[in-house]
């Protein structure tokens, strides 16, 4: 074979995958679990912050009301311990000056159902007030064009918040692996992220059942198309176990201003509703379990069968909580839902 072309990746693989791909008699690849980080708490909190007047009677989200909604959600999320006096104080519990912060948005659904621009701007504002330099904040998804179609303006360089897709900076050359997954990671994650803030949307997904916090991490790998069989299970859980993902993930703010209960992931206006809410949690599994329930409620209201009956229940959520993954809690008894 032509050895030259492969030298770089081979060296890497020697370092990273030695002993990793233990293909046993069963034939299934098994990579060892990384050192556990962020082990799930005994119980998890999910804040559902809603504002029926979020759009002020119009079609678009009102930026001020969005900022207020975000503040309410963040204060509630940290209210259990020493309640923060201000929203900025709440943010300071997650980040500290000098860190690089990235906001992983979801823009597949175009303007119809993507992470809301006003939400992103409100978060960037609070991060800067908490001491983060604007240039150290990156708002990103897989593809810059997709971001533009969702209403984001691409911005690279200068002392401002950075907006661009992985297509502008590439994926890492080398593979990382966990369980069933072997992928290259976005360089935005590996090079521009000390703290990852996950900003998915709340919607139905024809393959996975629902797409919320955990599935949004498919946007950090180069080959998500390989991980859609079997309702994305266990692949979604495995992607979230990649040490580079797990160790950086601090917070999920799920944009449910517009949500979809059927027909996802592309935008289908007939199956969408204006929920005017944010779901916020530090536990992505608890957030997904909660979001799934909201989607099921809406399906029932509209006469749709459950995802279970449709044979596309999101089993990956339970997998993410199992003993091998321990990414969070999906048992309802361990999830405290706070509505504000």
């Amino acid at each position: 074979m032509d050895a030259v072309a492969s030298a770089g990746r081979r060296n890497f693989l020697r370092q990273c995958l030695v002993g990793a791909a233990a293909l046993g008699a069963s034939g299934s690849a098994a990579f060892p679990a990384p050192a556990r980080t962020n082990a799930p708490p005994a119980d998890s909190m999910v804040v559902i912050a809603r504002d029926p007047q979020l759009r002020g009677g119009g079609a678009n989200v009102d930026a001020r009301r969005m900022e207020a909604l975000l503040d309410r959600a963040m204060l509630a999320l940290f209210s259990r311990d020493r309640a923060p006096r201000t929203p900025v104080e709440a943010w300071k519990r997650l980040i500290r000056p000098g860190q690089t912060i990235s906001l992983k948005v979801n823009t597949l659904g175009g303007r119809g159902i993507s992470t809301n621009l006003q939400l992103v701007e409100a978060i960037c504002e609070r991060l800067q007030q908490a001491g983060i330099r604007p240039a150290d904040i990156t708002v990103w998804d897989r593809d810059s064009e997709e971001m533009e179609r969702a209403g984001f303006r691409i911005a690279m360089g200068g002392n401002r918040v950075q907006y661009f897709g992985t297509d502008r900076v590439n994926y890492e050359q080398d593979l990382v692996a966990y369980g069933s997954v072997g992928s290259r990671l976005s360089k935005i994650l590996t090079e521009r992220t000390d703290v990852l803030i996950n900003l998915p949307v709340l919607k139905d997904h024809d393959g996975a059942g629902v797409t919320l916090a955990l599935k949004n991490m498919y946007g950090v790998i180069h080959n998500p198309n390989k991980y859609h069989p079997n309702g994305c299970n266990p692949y979604i859980a495995d992607v979230n176990m990649l040490p580079q993902v797990r160790s950086r993930m601090r917070l999920t703010i799920c944009d449910a201003t517009t949500a979809m209960y059927e027909g996802g992931p592309a935008f289908k206006p007939q199956f969408s509703w204006q929920y005017n809410a944010l779901l916020v949690s530090q536990d992505p599994v608890a957030l997904d379990a909660t979001g799934w329930r909201i989607i099921e409620r809406k399906r029932a209201e509209n006469g749709f069968r459950t995802l279970e009956a449709e044979q596309r229940a999101p089993r990956y959520i339970a997998t993410a909580a199992d003993a091998q993954h321990r990414l969070g809690n999906c048992d309802r008894r361990k999830i405290t839902t706070v509505e504000v």
Partner: protein, 412 residues
């Protein structure tokens, strides 16, 4: 573009190599593959096309092409094999996976995208690897020995073999690998310019670029250039007939003779591949089979015997079968290189079952790389590395010693 291996072939520093068709500014937007690009790269690497004695010295590291957007329309054509469904969904009918793909999503192979309920191939004329290879490297041993094939690939694959040697083009999306615009007529012209009697579709998985393969085969035939495909055979019958019906020879990688290996190591299925082989046989296509022997996973006597018996019963004893040596790569780094005695054991079993042309591959200098007359046992084609040395088969395709007919396509 990348210096590439034919999947499952692995012969480091072998004599008889590959000329790389590559542009020096390849990280930029894709451009037309041209003779000048080829020469610059081939000469820069000290490549000597005429002797085939160059090595793979181009530093073709995988480079992400940041300039190349997903929406690059010159590479986008409507897919030929799919059905429309409700809610803008489609069902792909190209390979047995039958992906049901929602709007704005892609199939498993990553190179086909649903845009508003119409399914598109994103890799027409989007060549990410191009080389002039000896035909023996494919390997096709009974097809124009001693000639070269103008070999091309696009990104993408419809399976995910854990041992893939070309995973950096097969397991990526088209926009993640540098590519050049190589329309069918241009490929045919270049093949002629480089005295290649055949175009080979290879390296990644040609099933997933079947529209491009079909158009290029037509252009090649119009220019007097044949076509061969190196494939996993994981394809539905209708596209198989339509696409591989245009081929002059086919090499199928039969990854194992067990369902569990296909499920766990390949992420595919055995049965459709066996069906493909039977259909090719009925179509009268010249077909050779490669079986990569992976230590501990598909190297049992019973599997070798079952495979040989199945081939003899369903395809006949004259189908060449190549047992090739595995080298650790991609997600199977923990297994050793296949020991030569294992390959010899596989060959001995297949010989004993009555197959006439059983070869050992990826082991330079092994006598089982040569072709012998099954009747008089004399050597008819001698191979050293990827080059055919002696070629004694008569013009009429018979053994020069005993006149036994030797199946294959021997003369251009």
């Amino acid at each position: 573009m990348h210096a590439k291996v034919d999947r499952e072939r692995d012969a480091p520093a072998s004599p008889g190599g590959t000329a790389h068709v590559q542009s020096p500014e390849m990280a930029d937007a894709p451009r037309l593959l041209d003779r000048r690009s080829f020469l610059m790269c081939a000469l820069a690497s000290g490549a000597a096309l005429s002797t085939g004695e160059f090595t793979s010295s181009l530093g073709a590291q995988p480079i992400f092409s940041g300039e190349q957007g997903q929406a690059n329309e010159q590479f986008t054509v409507e897919a030929r094999f799919y059905e429309k469904q409700k809610e803008k969904r489609i069902k792909c009918k190209l390979c047995p996976r039958e992906c049901v793909v929602g709007d704005k999503e892609r199939g498993y192979c990553g190179v086909r995208e649903n845009r508003g309920g119409t399914y598109y191939s994103l890799v027409h004329s989007r060549v990410c690897a191009a080389h002039v290879d000896p035909i023996e490297k494919k390997p096709l041993f009974h097809f124009l020995p001693g000639t070269t094939a103008f070999s091309i690939a696009t990104a993408g694959c419809n399976v995910n073999c854990k041992f893939c040697q070309n995973w950096d083009i097969s397991q990526v999306r088209p926009e993640q690998v540098p590519a050049q615009y190589a329309p069918p007529q241009r490929v045919a012209e270049l093949a002629r310019q480089y005295n290649c009697p055949a175009i080979a579709y290879t390296y990644s998985e040609p099933v997933v670029f079947s529209e491009y393969l079909m158009d290029t085969a037509d252009a090649g035939h119009q220019a007097g250039v044949r076509s061969v495909v190196i494939s996993n055979g994981y394809i539905q019958e209708e596209p198989l007939k339509a696409a591989y019906g245009k081929m002059d020879a086919v090499k199928i990688d039969l990854k194992a003779y067990s369902d569990s290996f296909y499920r766990d190591v390949v992420a595919g299925e055995l049965k459709p591949v066996l069906n493909t082989l039977v259909t090719l046989r009925k179509m009268g296509k010249w077909t050779e089979i490669v079986y990569l022997v992976v230590p501990t996973l598909n190297d049992g006597d019973a599997e070798f015997r079952g495979l040989a018996q199945w081939i003899k019963t369903n395809l006949g004893a004259d189908v060449p079968l190549h047992f090739t040596q595995f080298h650790p790569d991609y997600l199977l780094k923990n297994l050793p290189i296949t020991p030569v005695p294992t390959l010899e054991r596989a060959k001995a079993i297949a010989d004993a079952e009555g197959l006439h042309y059983v070869y050992i591959g990826n082991v330079p200098g092994h006598p089982a790389q040569n072709t012998y007359c099954p009747q008089c046992r004399r050597m008819l084609v001698e191979r050293v590395g990827f080059t055919a040395g002696k070629m004694l088969i008569r013009k009429d395709g018979n053994c020069p010693f005993c006149r036994h007919p030797i199946p294959g396509i021997w003369r251009a």
